[in-house]
Symmetry: C2
Subunit: 356 residues, 2 copies
């Protein structure tokens, strides 16, 4: 090693020890606290000083140590999210990805946990809050009488849900997709294409989501003055969807069917194929999963990137501005979008009529 230059700035050899507030302060000739202020409350610092400090920060590649910050402030920049068992749920997958991105934009990270039951989840909350200092939680799969959000509220943990609280309790902000609007649009589109006998393949009535989507279909039918045949309702599996489809086809078969999910829609398609009438009945699914896309199935697409963006925003705002616990409640309902594919434009019903 020669001498010169390296004297005062002996900072970054091959693998420098991480820069700290102190090392930056020393090199910039100011105090620790001033450097901190430059990063957190710049309005308190004289512009010239700030500029000089910024310079050194860049030079040393300084990044505040999160563990120290967390120890002092109790904030971790971690957001908890429960990941569920296998449901082959591409929706959750996409949401997870979008949420990770949205959170990262504000320098938060997603930390995962699992739990076999909702009750177990409450135990997990305590662990996550007490030991991991998570700043907030995103809840999914909300349902009537959900105890989870109440528990979080009493513990004072910020939370947002993806999914409405289906009862009247509204002690937290939420974001959801307007399923009813989705099926309504789908139904209207089918009506506009000339369909009159349109069926609905839904879920059992204990599902609020299912009932909501069913309502959209019903509404569109009513507004068009069309007769609402009784929907067929089955569990969300391909097999039970097929039995439902069979039942529907046996009694005055519809010319089009709106389905509460892609799985149901695929069951419908499968049954049609098995019965030897592959095309001729228009079908629309819900979720726009990749299988739906690759099967040429029209489907209602949930705007998951937007949902995740709103979730992140609402939650982080709540975390960073812990004022007015109840005042700033927001409920956001996003409209999904119908993706039209071959399945809802059967060749025998709609020749390429309207081009715009």
């Amino acid at each position: 090693m020669t001498d010169a230059t390296a004297a005062t700035t002996a900072a970054a050899p091959v693998s420098a020890p991480r820069a700290t507030l102190d090392s930056v302060a020393k090199l910039a000739g100011v105090s620790r606290q001033t450097v901190s202020n430059v990063m957190n409350t710049p309005q308190l610092v004289k512009p010239e000083t700030a500029e000089r400090v910024q310079q050194v920060i860049r030079q040393l590649g300084y990044r505040p140590n999160l563990a120290a910050k967390r120890l002092r402030t109790g904030q971790s920049r971690l957001i908890g999210l429960r990941i569920f068992g296998v449901d082959g749920d591409a929706v959750f997958d996409r949401f997870l990805h979008a949420l990770t991105d949205a959170a990262a934009l504000r320098d938060y990270r997603i930390i995962l946990y699992t739990s076999p039951t909702d009750e177990g989840e409450i135990g997990a909350f305590d662990e996550l809050v007490d030991r991991w200092d998570i700043d907030g939680i995103v809840l999914t799969s909300t349902h009537r009488g959900d105890v989870r959000s109440d528990h979080l509220a009493t513990r004072g943990v910020p939370c947002v849900t993806f999914g409405r609280p289906w009862d009247d309790s509204a002690r937290h902000s939420w974001v959801d997709v307007d399923g009813r609007a989705g099926t309504k649009t789908a139904t209207e589109t089918l009506i506009a294409a000339g369909h009159r006998r349109i069926g609905f393949l839904g879920w059992p009535l204990d599902s609020d989501v299912g009932t909501d989507r069913e309502a959209g279909w019903r509404e569109a039918m009513r507004e068009a003055g069309l007769d609402c045949r009784e929907p067929v309702r089955r569990d969300n599996t391909l097999d039970s969807a097929r039995t439902g489809a069979r039942e529907m086809l046996n009694t005055e078969a519809p010319t089009a069917v709106v389905c509460v999910s892609d799985v149901m829609a695929l069951g419908m398609v499968a049954e049609l194929a098995a019965e030897g009438r592959p095309t001729g009945i228009a079908i629309v699914g819900f979720d726009n999963s990749t299988v739906a896309a690759s099967n040429g199935l029209s489907s209602v697409d949930q705007p998951l990137v937007a949902v995740a963006g709103h979730c992140a925003r609402l939650l982080i705002d709540q975390i960073e501005r812990p004022t007015s616990s109840t005042a700033a409640l927001e409920r956001i309902l996003l409209a999904p979008k119908l993706i039209s594919r071959a399945s809802s434009r059967p060749p025998d019903l709609s020749p390429p009529a309207n081009s715009p």
Copy 2:
């Protein structure tokens, strides 16, 4: 409030301030360090003392603050995992869930990150390591000439990959599923059922995973003395799978087809249905995705819970015992299992022959 009892143990009213090492120590009448030893190095503590301290720990519900531990030791008990863009990949979904569980058993948590490219991922590493102090990383989607593991190795970050390094570089432990064995078993099963002309619908040759799976089919055919027709290779989408299927059917159609993935298999099924011969050709997929299951498609199931378990074990061992960086390298290859469903037992070929 009356008096009595509460005098010395005035510890846990409605919402006690979290217990700390100090508060436990004070109540137990020992020093801070002794409590720490009880938790981390019990063999240094006299049994009676340990018992007394444990008592207090339970009584106060003490849990060590991770931020403090992290600040002092630089360990965070966080494991990084990149989540990829939408590929409708149910495999990753299941792996993610299993990994979260496996890590939690040893008190580690999964923290997610995203990155549009492998190069960007390297930037993400630095951030994750420097600021978040992550203890290790699980890499997926390894490929030939993967720069990521090398970078981690030079930075000294423990890592394990789910997926072999397909070149000879082996500077890290890895866990993978033996695709070749899977397709081989599938092919052998078809041969045992009486099939002789068995095709393979694969991926383009630049995919090491695809080539590996193809090799299993080839091997089984050779060992049975059967003729290996040239495989048809297409990208992993339903549409291109269908064109591949068409090509395969046009030239001396096989009686059975082993497919490199469920997506390809579904394309095969779709094409068969479209051509009006829905049953009659046996088909086996790979991944055992939910759509495969619900379509009655036989498929090779990857033991993802086991894979995740091994990943967690190898990584955490490496984290906690940073000895012998290269000595303890492990390569674990797990055999997948064929799940037989209707698609590989077409009624015209295999009447329920062998019951055992």
